[in-house]
């Protein structure tokens, strides 16, 4: 009963959105190359359902691997910057500059660098676009740790590693998950950039490209919807993980 009450508002919102979309297309009399309506998209989706499954899986796993890489490397950089002020000062400009480069321009460079290694390239772009928020959040979480927390353990003779494991790590988890939610959607952008700009016949990006080439507009819209669905799924996976590992940070509803 409680879960039902939690699920119906988002479902209703989606339904209202679809109805409004359908109505907007119908009332304006838009052709499907201008704006496909939900009723155009479903047949396109059904027609290519096996391709959607196959390509959707390719996009998903490469995004997830890129994201995992971003978590490991981002957390590593975040820790280095969080614990050492010198390293923080040293690395920040570099990191910001790197993040400021539009990743669409990096795609052809990467594709040339590792010709043919399509999975690797895609994972690399997904990683590059999504590690920044993680690194920044962890470094801020660690560097803003109140000195008293450290003193409590240090005065007992605890090692730096113990202080990190018992206090710094758990205390940073809420910030980390906040960043991870941003990174999830960024990683999808990265994967699809590679798949669309340098298509190698794989992933939802490739399906989108095929739709463009064959002027199958409803298919293009169907790909967009499929990407949105994947993004929502992965986002809520992170939400569930957050509730398990950092549920204490959530305020009780009163």
């Amino acid at each position: 009963m409680r879960s039902l009450r939690k699920i119906w508002p988002p479902l209703a919102a989606i339904l209202v959105f679809l109805v409004f979309w359908e109505w907007l297309v119908w009332v304006n009399g838009w052709p499907n190359y201008k704006m496909a309506s939900p009723s155009d998209i479903w047949p396109a989706f059904w027609k290519f359902r096996w391709l959607f499954l196959e390509y959707g899986w390719q996009t998903l796993w490469r995004t997830v691997v890129g994201l995992l890489l971003a978590v490991v490397v981002g957390a590593g950089i975040g820790m280095i910057m969080g614990f050492s002020k010198t390293m923080r000062d040293a690395l920040y400009p570099l990191l910001v500059g790197f993040n400021a480069i539009p990743k669409a321009t990096v795609v052809p460079v990467i594709a040339l660098m590792f010709v043919g290694a399509h999975d690797f390239n895609t994972i690399l772009i997904a990683f590059m676009i999504s590690f920044f928020p993680i690194a920044v959040s962890i470094s801020i979480g660690l560097s803003t740790l109140e000195p008293e927390y450290r003193d409590i353990l240090r005065s007992l003779g605890a090692s730096n590693f113990t202080i990190f494991r018992k206090i710094a790590l758990p205390k940073t988890l809420p910030e980390f998950f906040g960043a991870l939610k941003v990174s999830v959607t960024l990683a999808f952008i990265g994967t699809n950039l590679m798949e669309i700009v340098e298509p190698h016949g794989r992933g939802l990006g490739h399906l989108f490209d095929s739709g463009k080439i064959s002027a199958d507009y409803p298919l293009m819209f169907a790909v967009l919807i499929a990407l949105a669905v994947l993004g929502i799924v992965l986002f809520y996976v992170v939400v569930v993980l957050e509730r398990i590992f950092a549920g204490w940070a959530e305020r009780q509803e009163t």
């Binding site: 109140e146 008293e148 007992l156 605890a158 018992k166 758990p170 950092a246 009780q252």
Partner: protein, 280 residues
């Protein structure tokens, strides 16, 4: 003389009945300065004081006079530029597990229950206690400070006074020889503060520790301590020592006797001298 061979086996202070004369905390001619970008700022100047075993010492003084530096030196978190800090005659050069600390900010770990927060030092300090014994020890303390029934709550579910009680339990759960309190009651409202003073007396009756309390509250110092030390303005040195020995837990009424009023008046005068508002 009380046997101090095993820190975990020492009896309750009041039950021991004896006034210890052997000093536990010794600070001899300590001078210390902070290095900042604009140069060195002297905080302590030739400071000498000692706390006898089992006693309660309150340190008062003007704001920013280096009281917190003193606590960090005793805890071994810092080494003085000059002079010696020793515990049991042994020079302090690094943190040691026979010290417990509590601050104005209770710094409880939000992701742990109250019980697990209190258990934290026992996870760090080497000890032979089983999980069950540790929990029993923590529960005893929680009961003593009136937090029974709250052990499985999170810190965010507790009031400020209750958090500070939990923080006190954490500071003494590993039976430290020295308890350092850095203005632990400073952020509490007056009524809660007086409740916690009473709690401090209860703890002292059951546990044996030598306590050094940093405070801004003169009534607090007179109510809790055997010895009140007034520090001068920065760089701080001992300006005045008030003997205020205690034979057992005090009641709040004792704060309103002529003797207490006289002691408070002396301390207030000394503080004003320390602030440079009055001449000695």
């Amino acid at each position: 003389m009380l046997n101090t061979a095993s820190a975990l086996a020492r009896g309750p202070f009041f039950a021991s009945g004896a006034w210890m004369t052997e000093s536990l905390i010794d600070i001899a001619h300590v001078t210390h300065a902070y290095q900042t970008e604009t140069g060195s700022v002297p905080v302590l100047n030739d400071l000498t004081l000692s706390c006898a075993e089992g006693t309660f010492t309150a340190v008062v003084g003007p704001s920013g006079c280096g009281k917190s530096t003193l606590t960090r030196l005793i805890a071994g978190l810092m080494i003085p530029d000059e002079g010696v800090v020793s515990l049991h005659g042994e020079r302090v050069t690094s943190p040691r597990s026979t010290v417990g600390m509590a601050f104005q900010n209770p710094v409880l770990l939000e992701w742990r229950t109250i019980l697990d927060n209190v258990l934290l030092p026992l996870e760090i300090v080497p000890n032979a206690l089983s999980r069950k014994d540790r929990e029993a020890r923590a529960m005893d303390l929680l009961k003593l400070v009136g937090l029974e029934g709250f052990e499985s709550k999170r810190p965010s579910e507790l009031s400020g006074g209750m958090r500070q009680r939990a923080s006190l339990c954490r500071a003494i759960v590993h039976r430290p020889e020295v308890l350092i309190l850095d203005e632990p009651f400073g952020a509490l409202d007056a009524f809660t503060r007086e409740d916690l003073w009473q709690t401090m007396h209860n703890l002292r009756a059951e546990e044996s520790f030598t306590c050094l309390l940093i405070t801004h509250d003169l009534r607090e110092s007179v109510f809790l301590a055997d010895q009140v030390i007034v520090l001068s303005g920065r760089p701080a040195t001992v300006q005045y020592t008030l003997d205020n020995p205690m034979s057992g837990p005090r009641s709040l009424d004792e704060l309103y006797t002529p003797e207490a009023a006289e002691k408070l008046a002396i301390l207030r005068h000394e503080i004003q001298v320390a602030q440079g508002r009055e001449v000695a």
